[in-house]
Symmetry: C2
Subunit: 168 residues, 2 copies
DNA sequence: TTATATTTTCAATATATTTTGAAAATTCAA
DNA sequence: TTGAATTTTCAAAATATATTGAAAATATAA
């Protein structure tokens, strides 16, 4: 397969894949382009490479920088900003875990804690089912949260080595 | 907090939360409603409970059944179909993992395998970066895939007990 | 059968999200 | 300063997704 076709297919599939994860197609495509680009790119490079408008590239690049997946690079003597993606996939994954924990899991856990005690007869089956469901989700989230914390702190070799040996 | 308010808030937050995970709001709200309902509900119950049209409820209920998160129940002597959600959150989680692995992770891994060898000079930096990126993602996915397999096979107590003790 | 209840489908509509592109703001060299 | 290069913003347009509701299909009781 030709490099240009393979790159094209990777970028487009990565974009489609991302939509299943609540990430917009364009943001994922820009990320994919930067992942396969050995050198940093400018906004214009990205616009040309993916046929997108300036505004669109600008907004999605900012989002990627906010997520900590892309760095803005100022090259000496260059007027334009350059952008470069973190290439180490383990680091990419842990960064995404960190952010999603902070943005989604933690707020959800706060809400669950608030919903845990409702007024009313503990023997009423509606009350009972509600509190059981909430506490079930709360406990599960707590475990998941802890596990993710540990994964984020660990390094890749530890994960690949110890954890998977343990699992076998 | 009153039960009715707490239920309302849970349903609405669960719906909002789900949109970050590529799941539509309505499907998640129906799921939430069924999770807190001790008895099975009919389509009409769900329509009334969430103020949704018949068609909408019908489509999203089918989707939930396809995902294996909700069962269609035929009560003897009842004309209407009833629906009930799996209440065990561990089972819900493993079911979601199974389905997403099958629907998303596995197809992506197939694609990555195809993209792994591209024509061209292995010393060309574009070729090099592309193959390194693809193989990095491929290896990471393989590890994740294995870990998820093991989690799905394991039961909850194992997860909560051994795994987390190991992590500490 | 036939009539009625129930479920499913799907074109039309409504809503939400993404994208554009030009104007405004900012940066920076001269 | 000034002016050209670059980045950012954001209202309007385009696109994508979700929702409705009524008609068609299906199931069930009489």
């Amino acid at each position: 397969m030709k490099l240009s076709d393979a790159r094209q297919q990777f970028i487009s599939s990565w974009g489609a894949f991302a939509t299943h994860w609540g990430i917009n197609r364009t943001m994922a495509q820009i990320h994919a382009l930067l992942l396969v680009s050995p050198d940093p790119l400018t906004q214009d490079d990205i616009m040309a490479g993916l046929s997108l408008s300036r505004g669109n590239v600008n907004m999605n690049i900012r989002e990627l920088v906010d997520w900590g997946l892309v760095d803005r690079i100022l090259l000496p003597g260059e007027r334009k900003d350059f952008f470069s993606a973190e290439k180490d996939i383990w680091k990419v994954a842990t960064q995404i875990i960190k952010e999603r924990k902070k943005r989604e899991l933690e707020p959800m856990m706060k809400l669950l804690a608030q919903l845990e005690d409702v007024e009313g007869d503990k023997k009423d089956k509606d009350v009972k089912q509600f509190t059981e469901t909430i506490s079930g989700i709360k406990n599960f989230s707590k475990q998941a949260d802890r596990m993710l914390d540990i994964m984020v702190k660990a390094d890749e070799n530890w994960f690949v080595g110890s954890l998977l040996k343990f699992f076998k």
